[in-house]
Symmetry: C2
Subunit: 242 residues, 2 copies
DNA sequence: GAGTGGTCTAGACCACGGT
DNA sequence: CCGTGGTCTAGACCACTCC
């Protein structure tokens, strides 16, 4: 069942095993094996069991009650996305659509005050600025303006940009691994010029998004301003009470 | 420094102590004490230290590098809200405003199919439906329609509703502790009737929000539909790469 | 090789919920 | 009272980074 000498941590293997166990044996709100029972059944320490159970709780598979036990949550079926996906490509795939990106422009320029501030670089430093129109099945979904520091991405070209999604290009071509991305968004209406780009009437509902992406080294590797069709983007978030 | 026999868990105390230590002694990106150094300095086990450090990492105070050490993140200054607050009251306080709520209506009725589905109750079951206009310093911010199951909240009255925020009323008067809330939201524009209620022109940008709140017992205790001024609500979320 | 974070063990005591 | 999850210990070995 569990491979003790695998390169995959035991608690990680245990997660998969327990998910399988739940699916095969238990229904919603039924009582799960106790922590000590799991220790015996799979011959691991309680620390390992609790590490696995904590992740399962975060994932929504189970919930715990002090003094009573652990129970199957029955919520994991509905909660597909809850905005795990932060890339356009992933979002579209979750919506069951085929994403497409057209690179409208790519230029190298010196950072002005605004760009410098949001990319965390010095004013005057070289940066790339690109504009992209993002579609799904012939519907124009979103228009993005992205800034990235030039020194992290030498010799960036449109053909490279078009070869793969940005969030694959970062790690694969430039060894920049993403740690997390912060997004701010708010409702707005389309201005005239934007409405032309998206093929919608001016004044249509839209979502404006500002995204800052950080590398594993805690450097900002991307700052993007987006405007997205209001009728196509529904964000889902879960607020957990501590 | 740490009280070993406090009712507060050691790792929880340690979190506060370490935050203080960081603020007093370290700047951004500086190297933090190693885990084993913290063990010695505060006389606790490494398990306890790691529990505290994991929370600090989630909070954004520090980041770890395998083989190198733990470092101060320097991001905890900016990231105030990131939508931790899911109640209107908390959100307004974070924005430095004084929230006010006017209960427009409160009625008890039988759940129709729509309400039954979203509250997870049977059709025909008694539910409360309330409408509330929410303001901050004389600006009308958001209009909410809320459904809650009646059997969980016997003898609910407008005066009770007006006495405290809903999310205080749940635990304090009805012993209903909140576990988490799921929100969906998307951009839209105000319809005529809504525009009157919020005192804005029809066609103004707005955010439409659907919220489902769950109790510790995994029951739905609230379903709310909101429409909020687009120019006043900015949501922030962090997508962590796993 | 020395130091770091990552994983894991075996065992202990506590606080809570039910009998 | 017993079984549950919550906290904590002391110690072990591994994988990674840097010298």
């Amino acid at each position: 069942m569990l491979e003790k000498n695998s390169s995959i941590p035991l608690y990680n293997q245990l997660i998969d095993v327990l998910i399988e166990y739940i699916k095969m044996n238990l229904n919603d709100d039924e009582k799960m094996l106790s922590e000590r029972e799991i220790c015996l059944k799979y011959d691991v320490s309680r620390t390992t069991v609790r590490a696995a159970l904590n992740e399962l709780e975060e994932m929504g598979y189970i919930f715990k009650r002090h003094g009573k036990g652990t129970f199957v949550s029955g919520l994991w079926k509905e909660m597909q996305n809850l905005s795990d996906a932060y890339s356009f490509t992933e979002q579209m795939k979750q919506m069951g659509k085929v994403p497409h990106t057209q690179v409208v422009s790519l230029e190298e320029l010196a950072a002005n005050q605004f760009v410098a501030k949001h990319l965390g670089v010095e004013e005057g430093e070289r940066v790339y600025k690109m504009k992209r129109l993002r579609s799904a099945e012939d519907m124009k979904m979103m228009y993005e303006t992205t800034f990235i520091p030039a020194y992290l991405f030498p010799d960036l070209t449109i053909s490279k940009l078009e070869s793969m999604p940005l969030y694959e290009l970062f790690p694969r071509l430039y060894n920049q691994d993403i740690k997390y991305a912060d997004e701010e968004f708010y409702a707005s209406v389309l201005q005239e010029k934007e409405s032309e780009k998206l093929g919608l009437p001016a004044g249509s509902a839209c979502l404006r998004i500002r995204r800052t992406t950080y590398s594993q080294e805690n450097e900002i590797i991307e700052y993007t301003l987006s405007v997205a069709r209001g009728d196509q983007f529904v964000y889902k978030i879960r607020h957990s009470k501590k």
